[in-house]
Amino acid sequence: MVEYTKTEFLIACASSHVKDGEMVFGGTGMPLLAALLAKETHAPRSNLISEAGFIDARPREVPLSVADTRYYYGCSASIGLIETLGFLLQAGRIDVGFLGAAQIDEYGNLNTSYIGPYEAPKVKLPGSGGGNDIASSAKRLIIMMSHDKRKFLKKLDYMTSPGYLDGPGGREKWSLVGGGPEIVITDMCQMDFDSATKKIRLKSVHPGFTVQDVQENVMFDLIIPDDVPTTDEPTQEQLDIMRKLDPNGIYLGKGG
């Protein structure tokens, strides 16, 4: 039996959603490792782009910042923000964006800005960064979140980044370039979106969790299909590769 940590599981899971030849906005952390893992396995011609300006990057060590020089050497172009967020992303040339969030609603809208009321916030979160730009314009969005009932809300404290907004036609009304969220990966399950209602739907539960576990940990009505499979586990090859990519456990954790 393959042994892995929760983080490793999530990275392998996210990696499986990157397709060969795709342009991927990688960032840092788990999304970066997922993108690198995809490139090393089933998507060798995928292209890793950092929003700070690195294009077609292949870092030999994992970067801590989207602007980290570790992204530079060996990439095929190194320019700036207007290039990556404007000429590439806003022009509809980016296939996949990864985003995390502190809160998500049933339409896949995300909050990365404030906990509590806008006028007197309890917690100031990092803000959009390029997140809203990515959510507005990437063809597909992969969302990674830790699973906590207080994060899966009927109404966000603040909507930083667009999912499907208020449902069908929501994105079209604002002429958004991108297609919206495709998948939400948590430490309990994967969720996708019902094409008719644009509402979030359970897709698979991770080993060790049940449909009921998931239902008890969201604060909106989750669409549950009749057949909910168990999420695939990572392969030994995937684990070996990601441990080689992050030998110091910067993102995988020291216990990796």
């Binding site: 990092p126 803000g127 002429s175």
Partner: protein, 304 residues
């Protein structure tokens, strides 16, 4: 061609910071861990500047320092955190205390606002932010935060963000000549537009380069001298962040900084030791230690 007697724009860090008036607006260069003008933030703190507005996409330690020390009271930014480490605790506290107001934009929106300022047009169009609270909720800018209009050509909704021409642009580069011609290695982030949008521009550089060398490689000049008002040359301006081809980030110092800022007491201790407790940037570097600094030097061809 006769070489005319040229202006020498070099001044000290203290002189540069002194030019900034309380209440001024600053474009703040660098992106994430790259080329952050930390030394300038330190000097603003030492000179007890107040009520500054800072415009940038996503800065990290420098924004924490300026918010924590009460130098800046308004941020127009897209992002604040210490990537890979976690939240910006100083900013979080100052926002909760009501001492700091953050007007929220996206990275592309801020980059376009700098581009619009550099081009001297009053706004730039954008396809992000629409449909979300980034359009609906506004702080001190009110209705001038942005406008969503129907495109007069296509009828599509389009977001207009107001251009920025702050009092000063503060940009950190690798090399500059005494006239102000600046070379940047590696990514530029939003610094090309940011350098050009300010009413005045102060360039901080790691090294001096001779003008004759600038003129042999004109394509390498990322900021021409005619935009530049003052030049400050100092080593390790970005420490504990990185400067491409010069030095890596100081992860140990960065983690210490992040940990200390978790509490107000910890932050005050860092402030007293590393910023107020030294006379100038060399005092800070002495405290960090030259053996430590030397270990951070970049390795060719990697640039870190």
């Amino acid at each position: 061609m006769t070489e005319a007697e040229v202006e020498d724009k070099r001044i000290t860090l203290a002189e540069a910071a002194k030019m900034v008036n309380d209440g001024d607006g600053l474009f703040w260069g660098g992106f994430g861990y790259q080329r952050a003008p930390i030394a300038f933030a330190h000097e603003l703190v030492r000179q007890k500047k107040r009520n500054l507005t800072v415009y940038t996409c996503g800065s990290e330690v420098d924004l924490e320092i300026m918010a924590g020390a009460g130098v800046a009271t308004r941020y127009e930014i897209a992002f604040s955190a210490i990537e890979a480490l976690g939240l910006s605790y100083n900013i979080r506290r100052r926002v909760s205390e009501g001492k700091l107001q953050v007007e929220d934009y996206t990275n592309l929106a801020m980059a376009m606002r700098f581009l619009g300022g550099a081009l001297n047009v009053p706004f730039m169009p954008l396809r992000s932010m629409m449909g979300t609270d980034m359009v609906n909720l506004k702080r001190y800018r009110g209705d001038d935060k942005l406008k969503v209009i129907d495109c007069p050509f296509t009828g599509d909704k389009i977001c207009l963000v107001p251009s920025l021409q702050p009092d000063y642009s503060i940009v950190h580069v690798q090399r500059v000549d005494k006239l102000g011609n600046a070379q940047i290695d590696g990514i530029v982030g939003e610094d090309l537009e940011g350098a050009r949008c300010g009413k005045k521009l102060i360039v901080l550089a790691e090294e001096l380069i001779d003008t004759s060398e600038i003129r042999t490689r004109p394509s390498q000049t990322k900021i021409p001298a005619m935009y530049v008002d003052h030049v400050v040359i100092l080593p390790y301006i970005a420490h504990p962040m990185m400067c491409h081809d010069y030095y890596d980030y100081d992860l140990e110092h960065l983690m210490m900084f992040h940990k200390m800022t978790q509490t107000e007491e910890g932050w005050q201790e860092y402030l007293d030791n590393f910023i107020l407790g030294v006379d100038n940037h060399y005092g800070y570097l002495n405290l960090v230690g030259w053996e430590n600094l030397h270990k951070l030097r970049a390795t060719k061809p990697w640039g870190y």
